[in-house]
């Protein structure tokens, strides 16, 4: 694990754990086609079945309800396309303003093409989408409701359980993006009462480019990718065996470590906040004030009077510390501000001054001190450079 001590971008992606790497290396020897007719590919089938069982167990699902995909972007796109394009449902699509672009951008595209009613519900200033606001948006004919379980930028936990009741009442299909929750918080599909739920392996020490979609009733979705009938006909294409083996191992490990993780991450967060206070740094937390409503591995901060872009760059160049300016994906595009923080109604100065710190399994108490010291140093430098303004 080269130089993980400065890594504070666990929400963007996580390193493969040793157990995951070992599972992937093992799977490299399982080369036969899972669809072959002859007697031998038992190894591959066992591997797939084990991985499916492990992923299912992580979220309290049955293995038959798990379909492997190329990641949560595909999983989210699939649900949207399947419900909004392939079925005779002409009702509105209700979602939140803080979803990942895998939901928001594809939802906009599809609804635009169809002239379908797209209702985007805003969060409150702490980044939580009120169930009541979703309820209000769910007037009349609604085909699909999609809500994330944990926001990637703020860690805010959304009222998914309540919203599932609202969706059920309006007869809408209810999808949950659990990418930032699975493997981090306890996720149970039956208590969430969702119709589908997406996962991505690389957020919990599995490989990138492999994910899953839980589907409560697999008949409810039409396939997006059609061909050789893999994944019970729901998702065609020769299976990503090495990736799926990695995802299974990651799920098993995440499940086993969940309790330890919670303690670890809580301690790190408490330590970071107290170090920032001790150093007299002024900052604001963007996200829920109530820790019970927050995935504690995420700390979105604004430093007043500071342009976070510079601070993040300095942390990277001078201190070898990696934090994120909003969602990692945004740097591919030309958006100026995090759409999540914007939707929360934060003012310009707070938007400009915001960064996301996220930590996890390999983060140590010492790393936290290093981060706090680097923040103190950088804030001093930029305050001095800007002194006259």
């Amino acid at each position: 694990m080269s130089n993980l001590s400065g890594y504070f971008d666990y929400n963007a992606t996580t390193p493969l754990s040793d157990a995951v790497k070992a599972a992937m290396v093992d799977a490299m020897e399982q080369f036969e086609n899972p669809s072959a007719a002859y007697a031998a590919p038992d190894g591959v089938k066992t591997l797939m079945a084990q991985a499916r069982a492990d992923v299912a167990a992580l979220i309290g699902a049955d293995p038959e309800q798990i379909v492997f995909t190329s990641g949560a972007t595909e999983s989210n796109n699939w649900v949207l396309r399947s419900i909004l394009e392939c079925q005779d449902r002409s009702g509105a699509f209700v979602t939140s303003a803080i979803e990942h672009d895998a939901t928001l951008a594809s939802g906009k595209m599809i609804c635009d093409q169809q002239g379908r009613d797209l209702r985007i519900v805003s969060p409150d200033s702490e980044g939580i989408v009120p169930a009541s606001a979703i309820e209000q948006a769910c007037q009349g004919d609604v085909s699909l409701v999609s809500l994330m379980l944990t926001n990637n930028e703020t860690g805010a936990i959304q009222p998914v359980r309540e919203v599932s009741g609202i969706a059920r009442q309006t007869n809408a299909f209810f999808h949950v993006d659990a990418v930032q929750a699975a493997g981090k918080l306890s996720v149970d599909v039956s208590s969430l009462c969702c119709d589908s739920l997406s996962l991505s392996a690389h957020k919990f020490h599995g490989p990138k480019g492999v994910g899953a979609l839980y589907i409560k009733n697999p008949d409810a979705l039409t396939p997006m990718i059609v061909g050789g009938g893999q994944e019970a006909g729901l998702r065609a294409g020769t299976e990503n065996i090495v990736g799926i083996a990695g995802m299974g191992a990651a799920a098993a490990e995440a499940r086993a470590r969940l309790a330890d993780r919670t303690v670890h991450v809580h301690a790190l967060r408490t330590a970071l906040l107290s170090e920032l206070h001790t150093r007299n740094l002024s900052f604001q937390v963007n996200g829920p004030s109530d820790q019970a409503q927050t995935a504690l591995c995420t700390l979105n901060l604004s430093f007043p009077g500071i342009r976070a872009e510079s601070l993040v760059a300095r942390l990277g160049l001078v201190d070898g510390i990696k934090v994120s300016l909003g969602s990692a994906c945004s740097t591919n595009k030309h958006s100026r501000h995090s759409h999540v923080l914007q939707a929360m109604g934060l003012d310009e100065a707070r938007l400009v001054g915001s960064m996301r710190i996220s930590f996890g399994r390999y983060t140590t108490r010492g790393d936290i001190t290093r981060l706090a010291a680097a923040l103190e140093d950088g804030l001093g430098v930029f305050q001095r450079l800007a002194a006259a303004e």
Partner: protein, 119 residues
């Protein structure tokens, strides 16, 4: 993502500060991103003797401010005035498309330099 030149001027700015009694002050506030630069310049007999900057902005714009200071200090004021955008661009090395914005800011700042600007 940052050239070595930008990275160095950003992480180790040599000309941060403000002159107590500048002869020229250049200022830019970008209407789009809000980045601000203020450069104070001391001139002696047509020659720029000292330059310091204050800035609030992105990494590239902070680097830009420092690069400009280094470039001006020790030059004849008239040479700076006469500098073409291309000559200025050379000081920055290769910029990504988004960073090119900072070159424009530099051009804009230098354009405020007028031979008659020395009181």
């Amino acid at each position: 993502m940052f050239s070595a030149r930008i990275a160095e001027n950003f992480t180790s700015p040599t000309h941060g500060g403000e002159l107590a009694d500048p002869h020229i002050v250049l200022e830019n506030k970008d209407p789009v991103c809000g980045d601000q630069i203020r450069i104070s310049i001391a001139v002696d007999d047509g020659s720029i003797t000292q330059v310091r900057f204050r800035a609030w902005g992105c990494a590239t714009s902070l680097a830009t401010a420092n690069i400009l200071c280094v470039w001006m200090e020790g030059k004849q004021l008239t040479d700076c005035v006469a500098a073409t955008p291309e000559e200025l661009a050379e000081q920055f090395g290769t910029l990504t498309p988004e960073q090119r914005h900072c070159h424009e800011i530099a051009v804009n700042l230098v354009a405020q330099l007028q031979p008659e600007s020395v009181a």
